[in-house]
């Protein structure tokens, strides 16, 4: 529709936070430069002006204490949103994420509720080099107690971020830096998308492409290209990586008999291994070819655009991967 409301991915995030802060006085935000400045990506823009410095808190450069602030405030009854500017910085705060936030409830025998949302920005494509471009979701998805979300478009961003804030468990919401400016239809009213429910971005019958975050969009481009060859791709965006919508993925593969899993993260040890393994475990007899995984090669993210553009998977690599799978006899 020509007159549908459009919003950028970054503003969809912002709107979800704003609406939840309006709805629930226990929601607050804390992070570096998110207050007066609105966050380095503008994700928290305008929120301090609206809700005050007590609810939109500028913090020191102290990622461990930022997450700890969230853990302690969540377990004593608030609903914190704490921001780690770049996903690479989860490494600085991982103890609070993995050993505290994720495990507290369990270690306490269930006697704790942690409605904590950790937000961060992942992915490459900005020539930001090896410490500001990583996709480290595999580290988080392996940790019982966490939920991990990576939206691929503005609509999902708003709905998933709303769900994260409303969720009674620690969630990690990973924005993709290269999608911040992506615009799309986003309803003004508040809505949430259930965590753990994937989405068929494009129905198809020949091959199932499982792709998330920016790669879901690359897969859509690839599918158009492949359609010209008569290859009809079904694109599944799991949206939430933990918990993973295994049913959706497996039932698609049972239909198409071919699967390609794509992520921007390093291929070795990435979440693609989990997804591919589940597919072959649960749809073994339906597979006409091995599940193919597409991911970054085994090196840190290089700085130079001349290298990085070949490092990150894209529509072209996906086209090639799908062709290989389909060509197999």
């Amino acid at each position: 529709m020509a007159d549908e409301r459009k919003l950028a991915y970054v503003m969809a995030f912002n709107e979800a936070v704003k609406q939840q802060m309006e709805a629930d006085p226990n929601v607050f935000c804390a992070g570096e430069d998110i207050g007066a400045f609105g966050g380095v990506f503008g994700t928290f823009g305008g929120l301090q002006a609206r809700f005050g410095a007590d609810r939109v808190v500028d913090t020191p450069i102290s990622e461990q204490a930022i997450v700890g602030l969230g853990v302690g405030a969540a377990v004593t009854g608030l609903r914190p949103i704490v921001d780690l500017m770049f996903m690479d910085f989860i490494c600085v705060a991982l103890d609070q994420i993995v050993n505290q936030a994720a495990k507290l409830k369990y270690m306490f025998g269930g006697d704790a509720v942690l409605p904590l949302t950790i937000t961060t920005a992942g992915g490459g494509g900005l020539s930001a080099a090896a410490q500001h471009s990583q996709s480290l979701e595999a580290l988080l998805c392996h940790i019982p107690g966490l939920k991990v979300v990576m939206p691929s478009n503005p609509y999902d961003m708003k709905g998933l971020m709303t769900a994260c804030i409303q969720e009674n468990n620690p969630t990690v919401m990973i924005k993709h830096k290269r999608l911040l400016g992506m615009t799309g239809h986003v309803p003004e009213e508040s809505y949430s998308i259930p965590l753990g429910k994937g989405n068929i971005l494009r129905p198809g019958k020949d091959v199932s492409i499982v792709a998330y975050a920016r790669m879901a969009n690359e897969a859509l481009v690839a599918a158009e290209e492949l359609a010209k060859d008569g290859i009809d791709c079904e694109i599944i965006d799991p949206r939430t990586l933990q918990p993973l919508d295994t049913d959706l993925i497996v039932s698609s593969v049972k239909k198409t008999n071919h699967a390609v899993v794509v992520h921007e993260a390093v291929r070795f040890g990435g979440l693609g291994g989990e997804i591919a393994s589940q597919i072959q475990e649960l749809a073994f007899d339906y597979l006409d070819a091995p599940v193919t995984r597409i991911g970054a090669p085994f090196s840190p993210v290089p700085f130079s655009p001349a290298l990085e553009q070949h490092y990150i998977p894209n529509a072209k690599t996906i086209v090639q991967g799908v062709r290989d799978v389909m060509a197999r006899v």
């Binding site: 990622e63 461990q64 204490a65 700890g68 505290q100 306490f108 269930g110």
Partner: protein, 327 residues
């Protein structure tokens, strides 16, 4: 400050409860009836008791690997504690946490913690929430001397000061981190020297004197409660047993003389002697208290012994608040 006899007896009771619980746990551990690691608080009772005696029920504390003392001082239930140490289903954590994660959120005790330093940032979060709600609650972070060398402590202390939160940092300086003496791991003698670097007041107290600890804690808690911000209390204390378990393991890392010197300053007996001297209490009274609490311990051991172990179907329970995320 002149503490009333009631308050003194309250602090005494908290200390004796800790002592008895820990001695019992130590005996059980020595006869291999407790699984896992056990870090005893014996010798340091005055710190937990003196500080928690200054708190309300709805104030929060975070703790360390050496956490039983803190939970007892905050009002922990012997039965559920002992059951937890034995890994029973009736324990505080239903057998999932054990000694290193013992907790009671209803008492504001946000968990013992197996990661050195990790409790302090969580206390900062609790303090933030307390101010946010505006009901005058405060938070206390307990931590060891050794833990002040780790980044999480530093970040927590600084953030608490930057945000001017209602929190007290309570350091148990027992001069060792595990088997290594303080002077090998820092070039300062007093942890309190770190307070100025965050912009908060700090004070050293005799951690074997529960009255001294308590008075400092009352002041710090009052400061926090009334919007005066964070402060640090360094209590000089000593653990009478080993870092974990009871006996010294392996090489000897503390001299007999040193241990003996500190044991002479036993915080409980010191208080009892002083109160008797001041005619605030009698030996008979104390004997009765010990006897009463000893009976509680016996009850707790029996309770724990008779309690069932959790069943394997409980493994996946309690990972998420509503079970949706598991595979």
């Amino acid at each position: 400050m002149d503490l009333s006899v009631d308050v003194q007896l309250d602090l005494h009771r908290r200390m004796v409860r800790i002592r008895l619980f820990e001695e019992a746990a130590g005996r059980l551990a020595e006869s291999n009836r407790l699984p896992g690691f056990l870090h005893l608080y014996v010798g340091e009772e005055a710190v937990a008791a003196g500080v928690c005696g200054a708190l309300n029920d709805d104030d929060h504390i975070t703790s360390t690997h050496r956490g039983h003392g803190h939970l007892v001082a905050k009002g922990g239930d012997f039965n559920r504690m002992m059951a937890e140490l034995m890994g029973k289903a009736t324990g505080y954590c239903k057998g999932k946490g054990g000694s290193m994660h013992i907790s009671d959120t209803s008492l504001g005790m946000l968990g013992a913690n197996g990661i050195v330093g990790a409790g302090s940032p969580i206390a900062v979060g609790a303090a933030f929430a307390n101010r946010y709600r505006g009901r005058g609650q405060v938070a206390v972070a307990f931590f060891g001397d050794g833990s002040t060398n780790i980044g999480a402590f530093h970040e927590a202390a600084n953030m608490a000061c930057a945000l001017h939160l209602p929190i007290v940092f309570a350091c148990e300086n027992n001069e060792y981190g595990e088997f290594t003496p303080r002077d090998k791991t820092m070039a300062i003698t007093d942890i309190v020297d770190r307070a100025a670097g965050y912009g908060m007041p700090g004070v050293i107290v005799d951690g074997m004197d529960v009255i001294a600890v308590h008075e400092a804690a009352v002041e710090a808690v009052e400061r926090a409660r009334s919007g005066g911000g964070p402060s640090l209390i360094e209590a000089k204390t000593y653990r009478f047993y080993n870092h974990h378990g009871v006996q010294n393991l392996g090489l000897k890392y503390r001299s007999d003389d040193e241990v003996a010197m500190w044991k002479q300053r036993d915080p409980i007996f010191t208080l009892e002697d002083r109160m008797i001297e001041n005619k605030a209490a009698t030996r008979d009274q104390f004997d009765a208290i010990w006897a009463e609490l000893r009976a509680d311990i016996d009850t707790a051991i029996a309770f724990a012994d008779e309690s069932p172990y959790p069943t394997p179907d409980q493994i996946m329970v309690g990972v998420y608040t509503s079970m949706t995320g598991a595979q």
